[in-house]
């Protein structure tokens, strides 16, 4: 992964060229008997394939900050961002507003035309009202967050 510094998020390039097979047991032990299963049948799970639906459009980023704490996204977590997804109401998105990247939920309100709300998951942070006056773009929709659970309490 190649790291690129940005203000609040560190970006990584996605290497989808590797395949991580987590193989399940697909044969028992056959004492003295060869397995009838053909070699090319492998029952396995490739996380690259499962978590990265659109390799050309997927970017990894690492979280810095805690505005999404109550959504269980914390500093150090990895984000899997899929830019091919159309942002929907309620999605967690990486967006760019007035010179900075940020991670928020988006909320659209039918009664307010042309307004997008950026909703944090931490009461210490305010909701941000985005109007056409802001320099704003949704950079990509977060498809997965990956958390290291080896950190101890």
């Amino acid at each position: 992964m190649k790291e690129m510094e940005s203000q609040n998020l560190n970006f990584f390039n996605v290497a989808t060229d590797t395949e991580l097979d987590l193989s399940f047991v697909n044969e028992g032990i056959h004492a003295g008997f060869p397995s009838p299963a053909p070699d090319n049948v492998s029952l396995s799970l490739d996380l690259n394939r499962e978590l990265i639906r659109h390799p050309a459009a997927t970017f990894f980023a690492r979280v810095v900050g805690d505005s999404m704490r109550d959504a269980d996204v914390a500093e150090g977590d990895l984000l899997v961002i899929d830019r091919s997804l159309e942002p929907q109401n309620g999605n967690m998105v990486v967006c760019f507003i007035d010179g900075e990247f940020t991670l928020k939920f988006i909320r659209l309100d039918e009664r307010e035309k042309g307004v997008i709300w950026l909703v944090p998951a931490n009461p210490d942070f305010p909701e941000i009202k985005v109007t056409p006056d802001n320099n704003f773009m949704v950079w990509g929709v977060v498809a997965y967050t990956i958390k290291n659970r080896l950190h101890k309490l």
């Binding site: 690129m4 940005s6 090319n40 390799p55 830019r83």
Partner: protein, 422 residues
């Protein structure tokens, strides 16, 4: 019909993807050792900066106008390029990657109506998925597609896609098009043409073919034909290409890794030979494999991976080794592969190869002499008279013994390792 897809200000745009604040700001990317400008955005052009300007010359503008300047990051650009090319190859079955930021799509057999829809989709998809803006030119010849792409880039009204799909449009497009901007017309030819009073593509295309051939030989004649709508440029015929691609569709699909390895070794050897023939070396090696996209009844898979080399090379053994390393990462079991290929890009003259402190290959001189000797022998006795063993794997050779009961290569093939069940 052909489409030329061109990434706008590619290196600068790639930098912008990760710094959206620069979206409407002037951005320049410098060459190796921060020498001169190799890529710049329209905003930078508007300030008077030109491609090729040395950094010291633009220092004043950079400071006064707050121009964002980057050193080149070829690993990033190669990775971005692979993404763009991947999207293009999924949209169009037949693609020729011409350089790190340009590709020709062969669009035969698609109706014009479908084509309009498809190209508009592509023009939206590439920037949305990758962040890289593109321009698409569509025309009956590659040279005209290049012309069309220039129009697509220049005028907003085209929405990034310009079609030259009628005689009327062709005439209109060429009327004011500077001959110096036509693909394949070099600086020397421009001077000569100026002398004859020819400054537009239209004036060039209006000349007699005999006159063109007499003054600009067969290359000029090809451009003349192409401008008149007759396709005659095969990418292989270009004297000095910005990328070299050797690929083939297999007569019978290949499912095993060893089989692909052998083909890839042959493509790699051919790429190396072509590089040496034009006295050049490559900085980036790409390997792609894909299943038969026209056979929708089988599982589909296609992938590209590029690797940037520490030192540019045209060495057969080295390019085979790199290609095999890359193949190992793109290969997935359980698919029937129809096509594979090796692409060399980031091509530079072999006189400009920069030595590197971390170069892991010793005695480059000796290897260069070996390659030269092999080239000479093969030139006299026929291609592949002398070749590397990897170009003919044991499994593919007729003389190999049958191995119906062979176990997996547990220790030597990463795809065949032991599975520990717990």
């Amino acid at each position: 019909m052909f489409a030329l897809v061109d990434c706008n200000s590619f290196f600068a745009s790639a930098e912008r993807v990760f710094q959206p604040a620069l979206a409407d700001k002037p951005v320049c990317v410098l060459s190796n050792n921060d020498g001169c400008v190799v890529s710049l955005t329209n905003e930078a052009k508007a300030l008077g900066i030109r491609r090729g300007d040395p950094l010291f010359k633009i220092k004043d503008i950079v400071e006064k106008k707050d121009v964002a300047v980057f050193s080149s990051n070829y690993v990033l650009y190669a990775a971005m390029s692979a993404r763009v090319m991947h999207i293009l190859s999924e949209a169009a079955p037949d693609i020729d990657v011409y350089s790190i930021d340009e590709a020709f799509l062969n669009l035969e057999g698609i109706t014009n109506e479908q084509l309009k829809v498809k190209m508009a989709e592509l023009a939206a998809r590439v920037p949305r998925w990758t962040g890289i803006p593109i321009s698409i030119g569509v025309a009956p010849t590659k040279t005209l597609a290049k012309v069309a792409a220039k129009y697509a880039k220049k005028y907003k009204g085209y929405h990034n896609v310009c079609f030259i799909d009628s005689e009327e449009k062709r005439k209109k497009a060429l009327a004011d098009f500077p001959i110096a901007d036509v693909w394949g017309i070099g600086r020397q030819s421009v001077k000569k043409l100026e002398f004859f009073g020819i400054t537009t593509a239209a004036a060039f295309a209006a000349k007699e073919p005999e006159w063109i051939k007499r003054n600009f030989n067969v290359t000029g004649l090809r451009t003349w034909n192409e401008l008149r709508g007759t396709p005659c440029i095969e990418l292989d015929s270009l004297a000095e290409k910005q990328s070299i691609c050797v690929s083939r569709s297999f007569g019978k699909t290949v499912t095993d890794y060893e089989g692909l390895k052998e083909s890839v070794a042959n493509f790699a050897a051919d790429v190396a030979r072509k590089l040496r023939k034009q006295h050049s070396a490559a900085n980036i090696i790409t390997v792609f494999i894909r299943t038969d996209r026209f056979n929708t009844s089988v599982p589909q898979y296609s992938n590209f991976v590029s690797q940037t080399l520490t030192v540019a090379t045209a060495d057969t053994a080295e390019i085979i080794t790199f290609s095999h390393e890359i193949l190992k990462t793109v290969f997935r079991r359980g698919f029937a592969y129809k096509k594979a290929g090796v692409i060399a890009s980031g091509i530079i003259p072999d006189t400009a190869i920069q030595q590197h402190i971390f170069d892991t290959v010793g005695n480059r001189d000796k290897r260069q002499r070996l390659n030269k000797a092999v080239d000479v022998i093969n030139a006299i006795n026929g291609r592949d008279t002398i070749k590397y063993a990897a170009q003919e794997s044991a499994s593919g050779a007729e003389w190999s013994s049958r191995k119906d009961f062979k176990s997996r290569n547990y220790l030597t093939n990463i795809n065949e390792l032991i599975e520990v069940r717990i």
